[in-house]
Subunit: 492 residues, 2 copies
């Protein structure tokens, strides 16, 4: 999908002969952020038209996702599962884990209003089951409602803030990994809320340009549906909610070249075009190098092994959020990694329900580390040095080098195995438009661009450079809702 065929530069309203449709608020992109924006704008009394380039909200990245939503500070679900949490502890965690460069003002309001946000989702009809899933995992296999998803209970974050699980997962039976999970239930409820409130949705409609008045105010969009050009007037505001730019190779080369040529954990509509449309109006962008990263290995297996780089060195506690490990592999370790295990650890690791393939088979096995190094074509002695140092302290159930929790620490013993995890990462981009806590898009002058709002991964939001699973649906719905509120309240 190229951005070069049609210009992204804004269109002057003088060049619009007539409007084909109009609404108080025009939402561009009808995924989780867009649906949250639409749902909120209609209850604020605004007429809403959402334009979505795919044929259904079921094609949105959020709908295809596992549906983790990062909320906390003492939600009803956290309480029902027996966890204490406060907005202050949540804030401390997010400022540490989402940085460097985390947005203090946005994180503050996100934490203070998180309990309200959970209640709003419930009121929208998002179902949650009040049970906690304890095992380290990328996603909850069954229909439990709460899990850890950012390394809150692992070093170093367990030293920074009191741990609490904050990934809230909509209840969904018979999940189908990567196709229908909690995200489907989330978006189903948000879309129903928006549409029962009166929002209109126009599918198969690609937005090409913003339309601006002579004073720079955004007053509509130019779009096309199949071969037909459409001009849609927005009386109060336009909300951009079009997702990341991970499917734009040219933008990846410019901003996050380590992601170029790699699989994207998103949908092809994530082409960054709306970010460019706003930049053409002078909008600022930030953290455009940042990315969410994952790889296909079960966190329960990771925690039981030693994750090493091409030099056979460990580089992070293996029991932290697995996305943090994958990010470190891609960004700091040249995408080279192996998971070293012993027979006992491998046998102990559970086979993840519905995702059994994440208990990866052993690539190389050997009765000694010296032989394993030869098979893996690593430097002679490197694994012996790594395991020797680890075992020395593991004998006391300690990991002073990287602080893996005692639960996972014991000396590794022969026979050994290793799993090849080189060049296996995939992800999506986190950077984007600079916005205020009210979801206004900021000009590089740091003043809002009149009539323009944005939420979700077209913006830089709660995840700045770091990430925790659930912060993307979390800030997409949270600031999507705020975008809907701001746009609905804007003078018309």
């Amino acid at each position: 999908m190229s951005t070069s065929d049609r210009p992204v530069a804004p269109l002057s309203v003088r060049d619009v002969r007539s409007w084909d449709a109009e609404a108080d608020v025009v939402v561009v992109g009808y995924g989780t952020a867009g649906a949250a924006a639409a749902a909120e704008a209609v209850v604020r009394g605004a007429s809403v038209l959402a334009l979505e380039r795919t044929g259904s909200w079921q094609g949105a990245a959020g709908s295809l996702s596992g549906g983790l939503i990062y909320m906390g500070g003492g939600t009803a679900l956290q309480k029902a599962c027996g966890f204490e949490d406060t907005p202050e502890e949540m804030f401390k965690f997010l400022m540490a884990a989402m940085g460097p460069g985390a947005d203090e003002a946005k994180t503050d309001v996100y934490c203070r209003e998180s309990v309200d946000h959970f209640d709003w989702l419930v009121a929208c009809g998002v179902p949650f089951k009040a049970t906690f899933w304890e095992e380290p995992a990328w996603e909850i296999p069954g229909d439990d409602g709460l899990m850890y998803s950012g390394g809150e209970n692992a070093y170093p974050f367990d030293q920074i803030a009191r741990p609490a699980p904050r990934a809230h997962v909509p209840r969904m039976e018979n999940k189908r990994y990567g196709r229908k999970g909690g995200g489907f239930k989330l978006l189903e409820a948000l879309a129903a809320t928006a549409e029962s409130g009166g929002a209109s949705i126009r599918y198969d409609t690609v937005v090409d340009r913003l339309v601006v008045e002579s004073d720079g105010r955004v007053c509509g969009v130019a779009a096309h549906q199949y071969g037909t050009e459409l001009y849609v007037r927005a009386r109060r505001g336009v909300i951009l909610a079009t997702g990341s730019f991970v499917y734009n190779e040219s933008l990846l080369a410019d901003h996050a070249p380590w992601m170029a040529g790699r699989p994207g954990s998103a949908v092809e509509a994530h082409d960054g075009r709306a970010m460019l449309m706003a930049q053409a109006l002078g909008a600022g962008v930030k953290h455009t190098d940042a990315c969410e990263v994952a790889f296909g290995v079960d966190p329960g297996l990771l925690a039981r092994g030693l994750l090493v780089n091409a030099q056979g060195q460990r580089f992070m506690n293996e029991d932290t959020y697995a996305g943090r490990l994958a990010h470190a592999v891609l960004v700091h370790q040249a995408n080279q990694a192996f998971l070293l295990v012993d027979q006992a650890g491998y046998d102990d690791a559970p086979v993840p329900d519905r995702m059994p393939f994440l208990k990866r088979p052993i690539t190389w096995a050997a009765p000694s580390l010296a032989e394993l190094e030869v098979d893996m074509e690593l430097t002679g002695g490197c694994l012996e040095a790594t395991v020797g140092l680890y075992n020395r302290h593991a004998a006391d159930q300690r990991d002073p080098l990287f602080h893996k929790a005692a639960r996972w620490v014991r000396p590794l013993e022969p026979p050994f195995g290793a799993i090849d995890l080189r060049n296996e990462t995939l992800g999506f981009t986190l950077g984007g438009l600079t916005t205020t806590p009210r979801a206004e898009v900021l000009h590089v002058d740091r003043v809002p661009i009149p009539g323009l709002y944005a939420a979700g991964r077209v913006t830089s939001g709660i995840p700045a450079w770091g990430y925790a699973s659930g912060t993307s649906l979390g800030d997409g719905t949270f600031f999507g809702r705020r975008a809907g509120r701001s746009a609905a309240a804007a003078g018309s």
Copy 2:
């Protein structure tokens, strides 16, 4: 220095009552890139007015620098020093070392025309002495003219391209580190060329905004000199040559948060304002997370030791370009590093002439690694594991882990010492405006913004994410010259 006091949004020419000055080409910033642009534009028959916010070109970052200029492909100086080089080998090195994300089109023309660029500098009066400085160093202490500056002769680049030294250093006797070095001689010659050709310079003049015609063409600038507003018309084009954004903490937080709060290797005028002025016109930016990084330790000392992180692990061959090591320390190792040496290696390291402080004193010394670990508060056994593995292969003069050249490899023996290099990095930003090989500033639509050109560190140039000393003055002067040529040739 804040960018918030005056807006960066463009000014419409309709709002300019009268022009206070005019020229065919207006150059914003009179450092190396700006002076090269001015020097080239005047010989192309254009009248030139350069606006510089400081009181003299001697205050420019390039003038205060060591003056390394990255050129090659077989310059007269390379030949006189006995080195063979070709544009193809130079291209292979730069595409590998300046990436990921190196700009192929710009790198291609930069290499193919590098011999010509050297000859042009000589014709401008930049003096070079045809002698080669062999020792690893940040800068040449004496008046030699050529050195290695990017790890060309170290792993992995020695496997990718035939090594050749390419840092050309203007001859300067009685250098004063950080105040008057090769950069002074470079800029002195360029300024003399520009001014003898007829360029006018206006100092103490801060450019605030670009002035645009109704069709978006840049036709001048709004500036101020002390309390007086000035409007300067550019009949053919405006060239931005204002340097990096390392002295803008807000932009650092948005784009390169690991640089925020750290010392900048630049001057305070590097506030990124001109980048924002162009972004306000829809200009694209790229690699805004990239940075040049250095730290205060002699490369000759580094090569003789083991550079380890907070876990006592090595992470790169210590004989590569020291800026690559410093960059890895800041970006990949959380700015934590120690240089481990033995007595023999420390004694063998030369005291750098004029920069004796770069042979850093030992912070901790101990007769054994076990004792050294205790003193350094590192994990017990981590240095023993690292040195044990290193010594095992060093006995054969090999370093299979990181491929340090045999010249520097021998087993370390007691007594040992370590130098504390934590949180010592400093640098400047490398990212900026997206430009063409003709130095036209590109809109996010990937078409040139009429009338607007840029060169030097306000752009993303030859260094994309990686760096070699000399590529900044190198591409600043090279694309500065091209900006001067393009602007002078633009229709008026």
